[in-house]
């Protein structure tokens, strides 16, 4: 049976939706195992303290308690590893302090776990945890990003100045020379506010040990179960990898926060054998706030050198990045490899130099959050470009246009080679769709209502589809970054695909099925996608960095190609033709130029019932797998326009219009792609207007719940105008796709902030940091009025 028209490019409804819409999804906390027991972690109330003693006697004797473990019990195991080695300018490796699963001698952030209680119920585990007596020697806390390196207190003894590394990229001499001859220099101090990811499903884990075969099963909220297993077994617990099965079932959003190997699931696996019962832990939201890896948190200065025509001559950046109390799994590469390499943006700036100082603080570890380095680069660059336009009196769109890269491939001064793009096209489209020409009239209309209207632009680029493993390895990655896929054709011609990518909202079960169904000429319902289980999927690196379709999808296509190649041989035998004469299209193997053909189903059946089959030359069965290691990053890019209305009396900002034009290359399912953009925009607008993680000077998290951490709600956001259809296809993967998951979060914050600054320009406001809360906007207006 062949599909009537191609599925690729169509907004087909999602295959996974039925179970989510009916409550039939199976998220980690929905799974309860026989003999289930429950865990509670005792967490440090202090940001920084030495542990003088822990007394667990009363907790151990409490009702329903099965076991209590502390850092002493786990002292024999390894620390949680960091997957990327960054070297300082002087060649020395980054400081890598041990990240114990349960705190040993010190606690280093509020929420740092120091004991695990296992009991018959959650309530009993919590009650017992409250009985643990800890004698703390409270130490001063290091909190502030900008001053951590000069603090008198060290978070870790091996980094007395709290500096993990000082890293740099670019040609410093060339940049200095360009600044020396510049006609104009735009300077900007810029803060990228710390964010808390807040996937709506809290992290959870359920670990079981089977004495029967000495094996472990871990259900966990993970974006990459194979990586989770590899890190946990090889680096921390020393367990045989093949005896551990990690299942990431339905996962309720990740946004980066569920990439990492966390202490909780590691402790649960360790304890499951000792307790002899499956142990479940589900984070309370207040625990998520304290322990899910946070995002962003940069303090930077940017300087852009221009000539009198507005041509960019050089960019110089210094960034201090807060890594938090410990190195999370990918923490080190986010403010370096995934950040500074993007600082060229869409512009042919000949020289860029960036220095990054990464610091430890007594705060929750910081790692990748939707965009991961690229939003920080885009925000810095696009704020700077917009300010330069204002200073030079050049239209901000025009200034960008003058500096666009126009020929590809383009080798940037910060190490990337963009394969393709058309920045002028996305800019022109967004100016058109956003009706920029009508802005003046809308501004006048807002003014009649006492509101200040502003317009802001942002042109972003991102590097997705991480990464060629050899390049990543040369840059310090301690893992490969390929993807794996398997295509299993059943005797009836139905197909199950196993992918190492993980779907936690992205819709892989639909998109990947569209691709495979099209390639094999099958109906969508004849293709099932399986993911998220190391017991089913051969291997996987997982989902992050907008890599699933570009890398994971390509691995599947390579496996499909092998299926087709083998199918041709089988068909050639059945049709008594030579292999080379058999063509495959629309689900049929056909002898070229004839009407002699075999359907895909007939060939599949022959492979499994090989009565008439070339057994001397070909194995029976139709099942292929493939690994794909990309040859380059992909480079999605786009242009965003935001219009805001500011109420000068209260400081309240409303996003009046938001328009996005993205170049994602080819698009498999426009509905899903637009949905990804919408979600990214909400998180980016959230960062710009609402979300800001605030610590007190004592290291206490002041935004530790939804009552104080402002999440975007429906009424905070406008409807979006999103245009994603006409792109420049990626040149180095067979689908020509680039990745779309992070674009919205990358491109939108500077568009919003540039719009607000445009609105406030008349009031003399020249700078403003995110989040632009009403209070902060009001303060900026007041401060400008006093000047």
């Amino acid at each position: 049976m062949s599909a009537a028209q191609p599925l690729i490019g169509r907004s087909v409804e999602r295959k996974e939706d039925y179970r989510f819409l009916t409550g039939a999804g199976q998220y980690t906390d929905d799974i309860t195992l026989p003999q289930q027991s429950y865990a509670c972690f005792l967490r440090s109330p202090h940001a920084h303290a030495r542990i003088r003693s822990i007394d667990t006697a009363a907790a151990g004797a409490s009702d329903g308690v099965l076991a209590v473990f502390t850092g002493k019990d786990l002292a024999g195991i390894g620390g949680l590893p960091c997957g990327w080695l960054i070297k300082s300018i002087d060649g020395s490796p980054m400081k890598e302090p041990k990240h114990p699963v349960l705190a040993e001698d010190k606690v280093r952030h509020a929420g740092d776990p120091l004991a695990l209680v296992v009991a018959e119920s959650v309530a009993q585990a919590r009650a017992a945890a409250a009985l643990i007596e800890v004698d703390y020697e409270v130490l001063p806390a290091v909190v502030d990003t900008a001053t951590a390196a000069s603090a008198k207190t060290a978070v870790h003894d091996i980094a007395p100045d709290n500096v993990c590394y000082t890293w740099a990229i670019g040609d410093k001499a060339a940049v200095d020379a360009a600044f020396a001859r510049a006609d104009h220099v735009t300077r900007l101090a810029i803060v990228n506010n710390r964010l808390i990811p807040n996937a709506i499903e809290p992290r959870a884990a359920n670990a079981a040990y089977s004495r029967a075969d000495d094996s472990y099963t871990l259900y966990v909220t993970s974006q990459n179960p194979h990586v989770e297993r590899l890190l946990m077994t090889a680096f921390v617990l020393g367990l045989p990898e093949h005896k551990v099965r990690v299942i990431a079932p339905d996962v309720g959003g990740g946004f980066g926060s569920k990439i990492y190997l966390y202490a909780e699931e590691t402790a649960l696996v360790w304890a499951a054998r000792r307790v002899g019962r499956p142990i479940k832990w589900t984070a309370e939201r207040s625990e998520s706030f304290l322990t899910d890896a946070h995002g962003r948190d940069h303090v930077s200065t940017a300087e852009l050198a221009l000539d009198r025509n507005g041509a960019f001559l050089a960019l110089r950046v210094h960034t201090t990045a807060n890594l938090g109390a410990y190195l999370s799994t990918f923490a080190s590469c986010i403010p370096t490899i995934l950040y500074a390499t993007l600082l060229a943006g869409q512009y042919a700036t000949p020289a860029v130099y960036c220095e990054v100082q990464a610091v430890f603080t007594n705060t929750t570890p910081v790692d990748a959050y939707r965009g991961a380095g690229r939003p920080e680069a885009t925000y810095l660059l696009e704020r700077t470009v917009e300010q330069a336009a204002r200073e030079l009196g050049i239209d901000p769109a025009e200034l960008r246009r003058r500096n666009f890269i126009r020929s590809f491939p383009y080798a940037s001064p910060v190490g990337l080679t963009y394969d393709t793009g058309d920045y002028e096209a996305t800019l022109n489209r967004v100016l058109d769709i956003a009706d920029v020409r009508g802005f003046a009239a809308r501004k006048a209309e807002s003014a009649r209502r006492g509101l200040l209207r502003g317009i802001g632009y942002s042109c972003y680029i991102e590097a997705c589809g991480i990464a060629p493993s050899n390049i990543a390895g040369a840059l310090g990655a301690r893992a490969g970054l390929f993807e794996a896929g398997e295509v299993r054709v059943h005797p009836t011609g139905k197909v199950t695909v196993f992918t190492g990518s993980h779907s936690h909202g992205q819709g892989h079960e639909t998109t990947f099925a569209q691709v495979v169904a099209d390639k094999l000429g099958l109906a969508l319902e004849d293709v099932d996608i399986q993911h998220g289980d190391t017991g089913k999927v051969l291997f996987g690196m997982g989902t992050y960095g907008s890599r699933s379709l570009a890398v994971g999808g390509t691995a599947i296509i390579k496996a499909v190609d092998k299926i087709i190649a083998k199918g041709k041989k089988i068909a050639a035998h059945l049709l008594e033709a030579s292999d080379a004469d058999v063509e495959f299209a629309h689900g049929e193997f056909r002898v070229a130029g004839t009407d002699r053909k075999k359907t895909f189903g007939e060939v599949a059946l022959a492979a499994y019932v090989p009565h008439n089959y070339p057994l001397d030359k070909l194995e029976p069965g139709l099942n292929e797998n493939a690994f794909y290691d990309p040859t380059n990053f992909t480079f999605p890019a786009g242009s965003y326009v935001c219009e805001v209305e500011v109420d000068p009396d209260t400081g309240a900002v409303r996003v009046a219009r938001f328009t996005a034009s993205d170049d994602f290359g080819n698009v498999v399912n426009p509905m899903i792609v637009e949905g990804q953009v919408h979600g990214g925009l909400a998180q980016g607008i959230g960062q710009a207007l609402l979300e800001g993680c605030v610590y007190g000077s004592d290291g206490q998290l002041l935004t530790g719940s939804y009552v104080d951490y402002a999440m975007p709600r429906a009424s905070d956001l406008p409807g979006f105008r999103v245009d994603t259809v006409k792109g420049t296809p990626c040149t180095h993967n067979p689908l020509g796709v680039k990745g779309c998951g992070e674009a919205g979060a990358i491109g939108s914050p500077p568009a919003v902030m540039n719009a607000i600054l445009d609105a406030l320009a008349a009031r003399g406001v020249k700078s403003l940091d995110m989040p632009a809360t009403p209070y902060r906007v009001w303060q900026a207006i007041q401060a400008a009025a006093r000047r």
């Binding site: 409550g23 199976q26 998220y27 719940s705 009424s715």
Partner: protein, 159 residues
């Protein structure tokens, strides 16, 4: 201390023993194994646990099981037709891509039904206001808002 409660859940009579401080959300998920109702926070802020109590949307993490004594609770499982089809609001969410990871979806659909039942002609702005109690981190709400409007039409509350 445990109490015996009698109530209707998804149309069926239920008699159960609960502690006085057992939340309705915990009762549904842990005692009745109705895991379609999700828990996303501990401050009654996210709305993932929204169910209907006597036909009105409530956050089941903010109601005690004992408070449901003698009343009727409907969860996402309860609005799902047995024949494998979907409630018109569920179908609208599917058609409009009003869900991604699915975690907030049950609460969102239950709230959406409340919104359009009481405001059949809700404007986009009113729909957004009506969803104030439900957080979604995936969709940016754009397609949820479209889904609620389309669901209202499909439910027949809008001519």
């Amino acid at each position: 201390m445990s109490l015996t409660i009698q109530l209707k859940v998804n149309g069926r009579p239920v008699t159960a023993e609960v502690r006085p401080d057992t939340l309705l959300s915990a009762f549904l998920r842990e005692q009745l194994r109705l895991t379609g109702t999700h828990i996303g926070c501990d401050t009654a802020s996210c709305g993932a646990c929204t169910v209907h109590l006597d036909g009105r949307a409530v956050k089941s993490c903010n109601v005690l099981a004992v408070q449901a004594q003698g009343r009727e609770v409907t969860t996402i499982e309860g609005i799902t037709p047995a024949d494998g089809s979907l409630h018109p609001m569920q179908a609208a969410f599917k058609a409009c891509h009003g869900l991604q990871c699915g975690f907030c979806t049950a609460g969102m659909v239950m709230c959406a039904i409340e919104v359009v039942t009481h405001q059949p002609h809700a404007t986009e702005e009113q729909i957004r206001a009506g969803l104030e109690g439900n957080l979604c981190r995936c969709t940016g709400y754009h397609n949820i808002v479209r889904a609620v409007a389309q669901g209202a039409k499909a439910m027949g509350v809008v001519p």
